[in-house]
């Protein structure tokens, strides 16, 4: 094996070339196979992908921006257990600016950003992580977007500056794509996704965190075909977000059989039955977790026994809550109730109304029943 991740210095491209040379051919091809499977391309594309990566005269330059987020997507990106994949990722990309993993700091870091933008104008890939706060903090000199300031610029200014000259913009994680947790009610900082903030269309790879296989597959697609993959109406690549979790879930057979976990830890849970009644949002969530899985194919929530919470969907903290109920509650002024509570009340009211009127009709039966009248007379 070549070098380990920590040995990379982002200033010496030669070292990266060495590292690619140090990777076993076998590992490299299995990476290409994973990419072609993820992109839905089939085995005949494996050599083509290998060729595209090897022949790429220039590795695409990547500028990775952090906005309001937890760095979970960077963690996902660099923290893969299989060293060959980690190294490959860093070797097919030239990551010129990444606040978390770059060695430089301060002015040198700023210089690196400016240089990368200038050298690769119109050719680099901007990867955005995190939402952009648009609100104005309280205080005398505060201006719009001041909740997030990096090197004297607000997140919005930075995003606009970098995204304007990018060949492609990829939002990784739910925050950059749709705003994520900080954009949820009551959204104190006015956070929104990158596309909404800048008005520039972006490709979105949401998830909490996103799956690194998908973001790398987007790049491989870019290398192979020179274009971004086809997306759905929200801007998510169809190869990864074209199907619901529910449609290829490993517990689906138990859903169709009508076998449900009723309580965590019950016999059904031990038999890996379906988590529908535990509030699984798989039927409403488009993502390829069941096939790609997380952490180098180790596991993913439903496999581990917890329902899906819909982390690749817009505003999932608001929309998919409560996570352990299938449906949201209904909020009326002053009350919050489940759909069933409201429903039972309605049905009860209709039945009670009918019963009361029925009793009233019975008591007044003489008014309309001529036979009764005749008898009395």
């Amino acid at each position: 094996m070549g070098t380990s991740g920590s040995d990379f210095s982002f200033k010496t491209p030669e070292r990266r070339m060495d590292a690619l040379a140090g990777i076993k051919r076998r590992d490299f091809l299995s990476f290409c196979a994973l990419m072609s499977a993820t992109l839905g391309l089939g085995p005949s594309f494996i050599p083509k992908i290998a060729e595209a990566i090897e022949k790429a005269t220039r590795r695409p330059s990547v500028i990775w921006l952090h906005f309001a987020e937890c760095t979970g997507d960077s963690e996902a990106f660099i923290r893969s257990t299989n060293p060959s994949i980690e190294e490959l990722i860093l070797n097919i990309l030239s990551i010129d600016y990444h606040e978390t993993i770059m060695a430089a700091s301060g002015e040198a870091a700023e210089g690196a950003l400016q240089k990368a933008m200038k050298d690769n104008k119109g050719k680099y890939i901007a990867v955005c992580e995190g939402a952009i706060p648009l609100g104005t903090p309280p205080g005398p000199n505060a201006k719009k977007g001041d909740y997030l300031t990096i090197a004297g610029k607000t997140g919005l200014e930075l995003a606009k500056e970098v995204c304007r000259d990018a060949a492609a913009i990829m939002c990784v994680g739910n925050c950059a794509s749709f705003g994520g947790v900080q954009a949820q009610y009551p959204n104190p900082t006015g956070a929104v996704g990158v596309e909404e903030a800048t008005g520039i269309p972006t490709l979105k790879v949401p998830g909490c965190p996103h799956n690194v296989v998908n973001s790398v597959a987007v790049v491989v697609n870019f290398l192979l075909l020179g274009s971004l993959p086809k997306t759905d109406k929200l801007g998510r690549p169809l190869f990864a977000y074209g199907k619901r979790i529910h449609d290829h879930c490993l517990r689906r057979a138990h859903f169709d059989a009508g076998q449900f976990v009723e309580k965590f830890g019950d016999a059904g849970a031990k038999d890996r039955w379906c988590l529908y009644k535990m509030g699984c949002k798989g039927p409403q969530t488009y993502h390829n977790c069941p096939t790609v899985e997380y952490n180098d194919g180790t596991s993913w929530p439903v496999k581990a026994g917890h329902g899906c919470i819909g982390c690749s969907e817009p505003k999932f903290w608001d929309n998919m809550a409560p996570f352990y109920e299938r449906l949201p509650n209904i909020k009326l002024p002053g009350v919050e109730a489940s759909a069933d509570q409201i429903g039972f009340t309605l049905v009860g009211a209709a039945a009670a109304g009918s019963a009361v009127h029925g009793a009233y009709t019975f008591l007044n039966r003489k008014k309309f029943d001529p036979t009764l009248k005749d008898k009395e007379e």
Partner: protein
Amino acid sequence: MAQIHISPQKKALVYTRNFTNRLIHWTTFFSVITLLITGYYIGEPTAVYGQGEAYNTFVMADIRYYHFIAAMVLDVSLMVWFYLAFFSMSHRYWRQMLPTPKNIKEAMEVKKSYFTFKKPKFYSHFDPFDGLLFLALILFMVMQMVTGFQLYVEGLPQNYWWAQIIHLATDWVEWVFGSHQNVRLVHHLMEWIMVSGIIVHIYLQVTKTIIWQDGHIGQMVGGYKYKDIK
């Protein structure tokens, strides 16, 4: 509306509901009952669970299948209903169902009759009070149809022509309600709203049949109803 027979109680039998009309009513009835029962199970699987191995047990799959079959039947019968409301050769009923001031005024009179027990004037198909109730029920069914299709299309391959037609026809629903989850919530809540509406509907028809002695329910079976003769 030929008068066929005069009974000793001075009532004439009047032909009010033709065959198509009755057929649509009962198709809608049976499909809605099926949808209510299967929909309840889909929303809250209870009582019946798959026994045995999952590879040859299909409780939920079958129930969803019946839900979809009944849904298609309901959709077709609703479409025929709408067509006939405007273009029927014998009775174009749409005017009777609109909440116009005239209809509302007459509906209030009919409502009063349920408390005073003075028989309102004879209406051939349905009275204006029922007209407004039916308008609500029809709108509920249309709502179930559009939200149901929006749920249905989620599971179809995205670039399949049939899915694309459904997307074209119902994607606005998600926009109106804000998210997939809310579409589901509306579809679920509507089940209870429909049950309430159906309780009121059945109660009123039974009550009317008893207090006016005009064979009101019978008209939905045989097509005839009694009319008082002065």
